[in-house]
Amino acid sequence: MNREPGPPEPEEGLAAHDLVIGNRFWQAGPLNVRTTTGQITAILGPSGCGKSTLLATLAGIEPALSGQVMLHGIDLTDVPVHHRGIGMVFQEPLLFPHLNVGANVAYGLRRQGVNKSVAAQHAAELLDWVGLPGFADRATDSLSGGQAQRVALARAMAPSPRALLLDEPFSALDTDLRLRLAGEVAELLRSRSITAIHVTHDLAEAHAMADVVEQFGDLTAR
């Protein structure tokens, strides 16, 4: 990185070194990714190029075939998903339909052992933060597509992840809403100074969100 102007001696955020992703039938890499703490990095690439697999591998959902995943200089490659402290927002909101909106947001906190009422209070604050105050008791199927992705963002942020991955989170929305929401989410993330990687195939969306924009194809070049 560092091709774009950045702050002096930037602290390394989430990074991948010579990472090979894929499975028995398909591989990509070695890939090298570097991000700066507190910045949003967009990775731009056509559909099917492996962007989603890259994010899944960074999160630990998919195993790395070789190479390393680093966060703040610590090797995470062998750390299981739920101990990595990396949040993720998916293409679909994937809200758990057997839980209401508040319980969805509180899910991660509950897994950390936070008691129910504290988690619920925290969830309510996060719902305020994403602009959905008072939505905690609603059922997930009563939400619009945009609202559902906001809840998904609140849910991902609730356990205070050290980094956030966004896998084309707005691709199911229409263009107007997509760009507006991208701008809003970027503001929200900046307000919390979270390190984030956002993958998309849409240049406009990438620029609406990110501090730094990279091409997926360039990741292999280094």
């Binding site: 993720m88 994937l94 339909p97 897994r111 356990p159």
Partner: protein, 522 residues
């Protein structure tokens, strides 16, 4: 949901009519002929409810064990691996085999070491019903969007927490539905309880048989049948409540690639292997029984299967039973799949239609003796005499198969993509044409698959058909039971040989059905 074209919204009348004609009317006939004041005493007596409580406890234990064994196997069948289809089909064999054959197989394997009592009954019931868990839960599991699980893991859930908080709620409707079916099977069990049970494993069905065929006290038998139906209805209502909590939209079924880790693969293959062995071992012991004699290995039992002297009656040779069984299986397959699929489609229609899917499970809880005698009273004498038409047995088989067909088809109907219908409508298709275009191919394949399952059930059905006066040619299970009623080596070996043929036939059928089922997923 108004996805059904108008004329299809009244289609529920067909399954409703079927249930009324072949369940309600026969039951009414029995009640009208048999229920008196004495019967009420039987219904209210302490010993009736003592037996019901024993049976319920036994059924609960059997269900828990079937679940404990079946859930890991259901998970295994969601992965793509060589031999998966065969494993799944093998697991179905114990379920569709007649219970006498199951007991014969266990006996061939264990000989005098075969224990009796609650332990033996629970193990045998679990062995038989694992197939229900694997089929019902497994097919739902394969439809689970793994994204939910990934989301949970990213939120800090461990593997176990993910299973407990995400997978279990997703599977709850399927688990409830499988558990209800298994509970009802075990609660109303007859053959296994007779062959392996003792005084602590009585069922009401066993008491019904005693009242019917030894004491000839039909009022008491009817009262017991009523008591049994009451418990079954309670189980169905509780089950239906748990089933209706579903809110997850299933995706289309997609097999998962094998786990990447060696440990995961070892666990998966050993699970599948143990399951297959558990099913195959008794079947292999049947094969051995069919080729052994006092003089050692012999083919004479197989060679004489075509002879009317092969230890059975000269009404027909053992092999002749095969022809009639296949004929009945074909009719049952067609009848049950039509009725079952229509009942399942009714889920998409008006509220009353949705009730039909639930009601169509009821025949599961009606005693085979009640069903057989009821059909006899209703349709084996003027004004409606179906004896000459050869339809009575396939009708009884269809009654047994429809609940299973419905249980298998409902997930497929639930996963029908409403958007496809929208596309067809927006292209200007009339309601009927749009429905056929959007759902026709899927439904056609589901129907054939369900028909295959119904045919397999028919091949192995023994209970209801045995109570039904029917033309002399016996079905294969009836022929097996006849053979088992004769002393000497030949009848026993011929019964084993016929059982092997039945198992092979069933396996082939289920493999074909699964192949079709996979095409739906694709």
């Amino acid at each position: 949901m108004t996805v059904l074209p108008r004329w299809m919204r009244v289609l529920w009348i067909a399954p409703a009519g079927f249930i009324v004609a072949f369940v309600a009317v026969p039951l009414w006939q029995i009640a009208a002929n048999a229920l008196h004041d004495d019967a009420l005493q039987t219904l209210l007596s302490g010993s009736t409810w003592h037996v019901a409580a024993l049976a319920a406890a036994q059924a609960l234990l059997s269900t828990v064990l079937a679940m404990a064994v079946g859930l890991p196997l259901a998970a295994v069948t969601c992965y793509r691996f060589p031999g998966r289809a065969l494993t799944r089909a093998l697991l179905t064999i114990p379920f569709v085999m007649p219970t006498v054959v199951v007991a014969l197989a266990l006996r061939s394997m264990l000989g005098g070491a075969l224990p009796t009592g609650i332990v033996a009954v629970v193990i045998a019931h679990a062995w038989i019903n694992v197939a229900v868990v694997v089929r019902v839960v497994g097919s739902q599991w394969a439809r689970m969007d793994l994204g939910y699980l990934h989301a949970a893991r990213c939120l800090g859930a461990s593997r176990l927490q993910g299973f407990r908080t995400i997978t279990v709620p997703f599977l709850r409707p399927a688990i409830a539905s499988a558990a209800t079916v298994v509970f009802i099977f075990c609660f109303t069990s007859l053959g296994i309880v007779l062959l392996l049970g003792d005084q602590h494993t009585k069922t009401l069905e066993e008491q019904i048989l005693r009242q019917t065929s030894v004491l000839l006290d039909l009022p008491a038998a009817s009262a017991l049948a009523l008591a049994q139906l009451l418990v079954v209805s309670v189980a169905l209502i509780l089950g239906a409540r748990a089933i209706s909590t579903t809110t997850y939209r299933p995706t289309t079924a997609a097999l998962r690639p094998l786990p990447a880790s060696t440990g995961g693969r070892v666990a998966l293959f050993s699970c599948a292997g143990l399951g297959a062995i558990g099913v195959l071992a008794p079947v292999i012991s049947l094969v051995i029984a069919s080729v052994s004699s006092a003089h050692g290995m012999t083919w004479q039992w197989w060679a004489t299967l075509n002879s009317v002297d092969a230890g059975t009656t000269r009404i027909g040779s053992p092999i002749a039973a095969l022809g009639i069984s296949i004929q009945y299986a074909l009719i049952t397959g067609v009848l049950a799949s039509i009725i079952g699929v229509i009942a399942a489609i009714s889920l998409l229609g008006p509220r009353i239609g949705r009730w039909i899917a639930g009601v169509s499970i009821l025949p599961l809880g009606i005693s085979a003796a009640t069903l057989g005698l009821g059909l006899l009273l209703a349709y084996a004498r003027p004004p409606i005499d179906l004896r000459g038409t050869g339809l009575l047995v396939p009708l009884a088989h269809s009654l047994v198969a429809v609940p299973l067909v419905v249980a298998v088809v409902i997930p497929a109907v639930r996963s029908l993509d409403g958007r496809r219908l929208g596309v067809a409508r927006s292209l200007g298709a009339a309601p009927t044409r749009a429905f056929v275009t959007a759902y026709g191919p899927t439904l056609a394949v589901v129907m054939v698959a369900a028909g295959g399952l119904a045919a397999a059930v028919s091949l192995g059905e023994f209970g209801a058909a045995s109570f039904l006066a029917r033309p002399g040619t016996p079905t294969v299970p009836l022929q097996i039971v006849r053979l088992l009623g004769k002393p000497g080596e030949q009848p026993l070996a011929a019964a084993a040989a016929l059982s092997v043929i039945l198992a092979a036939l069933t396996l082939t059928l289920v493999l074909l059905v699964d192949r079709l089922g996979r095409r739906v997923g694709a």
